[in-house]
């Protein structure tokens, strides 16, 4: 099966074209957009880890190593598309337009962080694995029913493919030919469980065969390959040609979350030979004359400023309101909940 799903690459580890047919499609704007966002989300990611270590936010799920997959895909989507992320896809949502302060708030246990205040259709990160997959099918089916060309993307990991909801979602998408992109980041592990124990098959792409859904394996550390293959799938979906599955073969460089210790289960050198996705793009930029030292440092400065401002805003954010515990459960507070709320406020005030 592996032969049937070769890993599609546009550039190699050294940043050289493998597939020259993309030469025209790649231009300064795209290169810098990819580079900027990958940088931006990596800085965010590292900052967040630090904030967690300092106790300034809660448990955090880092995505270092997966920037090409997240940025390369997220840049394809348009304003009215729908994104259904997991807890590890805030690189993608930030790229798509989620607010950075709110993203930080999420990791600080604030409900304000699980919805984008902007009018973007970003779903709260799915915590129960694979549960978001049917949602993406439903939302994109809605777009199709309305006669729009908007699509939905579901992000999910290698581990998620084992859950029933993955299967049910794909089957629904196939039957109703919904404009859904199933975007898998195969990062090698589900917490401590390596993919060899998660499945006996060598690829995730082949799992689409059972539904007659077209699928592709792409080098998830090659931002171009991710970008262009996702784009093809998206264009297909917009044209009413139905769902696709993309397996982005990537690598979780760090821990599952800040509460996890990969040295317990991962051989020390595993993955060390994998070239970092940002390094790869840098090599490409240098090889093909896109590199501009000053532009990079200006960019980095901007990102740091943005980040620091966001962290400050997060920390200065108005305190959680206890009302919010009660007020968003129903469209109108039912009587018994009003009573619970009133009693609790009396309790707080020491009445």
């Amino acid at each position: 099966m592996e032969n049937k799903f070769p890993v599609k690459k546009v550039m190699d580890d050294e940043g050289n074209f493998v597939d020259n047919s993309y030469e025209k499609a790649i231009n300064t704007e795209l290169v810098w957009k990819l580079y900027y966002h990958m940088h931006r989300i990596r800085s965010f990611d590292r900052k967040a880890i630090n904030l967690q270590r300092q106790g300034r936010i809660g448990t955090y799920a880092p995505f270092e190593g997966q920037e090409a997959s997240q940025v390369g895909s997220a840049l394809v989507f348009e304003e009215d598309d729908w994104i259904f992320p997991t807890y590890r896809d805030h690189g993608a949502t930030l790229t798509f337009g989620a607010d950075m302060v709110e993203t930080l708030l999420y990791w600080n246990g604030r409900v304000e962080g699980s919805l984008p205040s902007k009018s973007k259709n970003i779903f709260p990160p799915a915590v129960p694995i694979a549960s978001q997959i049917p949602h993406a099918v439903g939302a994109s089916w809605g777009e199709k029913r309305k006669g729009n060309s908007n699509i939905a993307i579901a992000y999910f990991g290698d581990g998620a493919t084992s859950e029933g909801d993955f299967h049910e979602g794909l089957n629904f998408a196939s039957v109703f030919q919904t404009p859904t992109i199933f975007f898998n980041q195969n990062n090698g592990y589900a917490i401590s469980v390596p993919i060899e124990k998660q499945m006996n098959s060598k690829t995730i792409a082949q799992k689409a065969l059972g539904y007659d859904i077209p699928s592709k394996r792409v080098d998830g550390n090659d931002c171009f390959s991710v970008y262009f293959e996702t784009k093809k799938a998206v264009d297909r979906a917009r044209k009413g040609k139905g769902p696709s599955l993309i397996e982005a073969v990537t690598w979780r460089k760090g821990a599952h979350t800040t509460a996890d210790d990969p040295s317990k289960y991962r051989p020390e050198n595993q993955g060390k030979n994998i070239i970092d996705p940002i390094t790869r793009l840098e090599r490409f930029m240098k090889n093909y004359g896109y590199w501009q030292e000053e532009k990079v440092s200006a960019m980095q400065k901007d990102i740091i400023t943005e980040l620091e401002t966001a962290v400050k805003e997060m920390e200065a954010y108005k305190h959680s309101s206890v009302e919010d515990l009660f007020d968003h459960v129903y469209s109108e507070l039912p009587a018994h909940l009003t009573e619970q709320k009133v009693n609790y406020f009396e309790h707080i005030r020491g009445v």
Binding site: S114, P134, V137, G138, A139, G169, F172, H328, Y330, P334
Partner: protein, 341 residues
């Protein structure tokens, strides 16, 4: 034949009304909303040509087309999860779960998403959807087809749970449920799907969710029931009347949120209560009603509250189901026990 003629004549009694069974009233409620609101869609197993295994969606696909009345693959989690995606994108799905005992595969979707999406997004996204589920024993159905599990849903903030006991309420409450901005689990007592007929207005009307109703008035005893148990309670109340005991029979109708006012008002009048439900005793909603009375009406109570429920055993294969289900006789004994306390 005789029945048809009877129906005919009954239905002529009042214009603007039809005499319908409960399942017909439910069908009528969906039809009303499909006509009125384009975003309403029906999804489920066998709801299309077949019109549902109980014929609740009979004729609707024919009238509204395959786009509005959708036969889905056989996958409850997928159905509910997909419906949620549609709901946040502006649709109002009415999901049919074929039997309540087959809702369990969808439990994760209902528990972690459908009921929480409003809270998770502070109202930005919400799930105005209805999950219809025929429930209960008494029709000699195969294993698992007869479960009554409201209690695993009344412990799920964000969801509303309702259960009509007659055709009029069924249509009116279903319309309310479809129009409700929150997700509603709509339980349908299949045992009385067809065994009872009643006047149902042709037009659109709604019965407010969250409100119980007194179906029989009396000052000696409060009986609380819903769905198929309402008529069991009524029969027992009639028998109690023969013995000089006047019962307040309350059809709770909405199981979450409970109408605590009607419960308290009745018990404060009678001082005694019997709760009747099909579900198991332990963990059953009856315990919530006991608590409600404890919380609101402690000083009024003159006897322990009696609960007449399904036993704490799995709903049995049908040869024994009559022994599982509450009967008027068991209810009557509970009434007498409370009176004689």
């Amino acid at each position: 034949m005789t029945i048809d003629i009877e129906m005919q004549s009954l239905s002529k009694k009042r214009t603007g009304y039809k005499i319908l069974t409960m399942v017909q009233a439910i069908n009528d409620g969906m039809k009303t909303m499909l006509e009125e609101d384009d975003t309403t869609i029906i999804m489920g197993e066998d709801v299309g040509k077949n019109g549902g295994v109980f014929r609740a969606t009979e004729g609707l696909q024919e009238q509204f087309g395959e786009e509005r009345v959708v036969d889905t693959p056989l996958a409850e989690s997928g159905i509910v999860g997909t419906a949620l995606g549609l709901a946040v994108n502006g649709f109002k799905p009415i999901v049919e779960i074929q039997f309540m005992g087959f809702i369990y595969p969808a439990y994760n979707q209902i528990m972690t998403h459908v009921s929480r999406i409003r809270m998770k997004t502070m109202g930005r996204f919400n799930a105005p959807m209805v999950i219809r589920a025929p429930y209960g024993a008494g029709i000699r159905a195969p294993e698992i087809h007869s479960d009554s599990v409201e209690a695993i849903f009344t412990h799920m903030p964000g969801l509303k749970v309702v259960c009509p006991s007659n055709p009029y309420d069924a249509k009116g409450m279903l319309i309310s449920a479809i129009q409700d901005p929150d997700p509603v689990l709509f339980m349908e007592p299949m045992r009385i799907y067809r065994s009872m007929r009643g006047e149902v207005p042709d037009e659109k009307y709604s019965v407010e969710l969250g409100k119980g109703v007194r179906v029989q008035e009396g000052g000696d005893m409060s009986i609380f029931a819903w769905g198929a148990m309402v008529s069991i309670a009524e029969i027992a109340a009639e028998q109690a009347k023969q013995k000089g005991i006047q019962c307040d029979v309350i059809d709770l109708r909405t199981l979450y949120p409970l109408d605590r006012q009607i419960i308290a008002a009745s018990v404060q009048k009678t001082g005694r209560a019997v709760v009747v439900h099909e579900a198991h005793s332990t963990g059953g909603l009856g315990n919530d009603i006991v608590s409600t009375i404890n919380d609101t009406s402690f000083l009024y109570l003159r006897a322990p509250i009696e609960r007449v429920t399904g036993f704490d055993v799995p709903v049995p294969h049908f040869a024994l189901e009559e022994h599982y289900l509450p009967t008027p006789k068991r209810v009557l004994e509970a009434i007498l026990k409370a009176v004689q306390f």
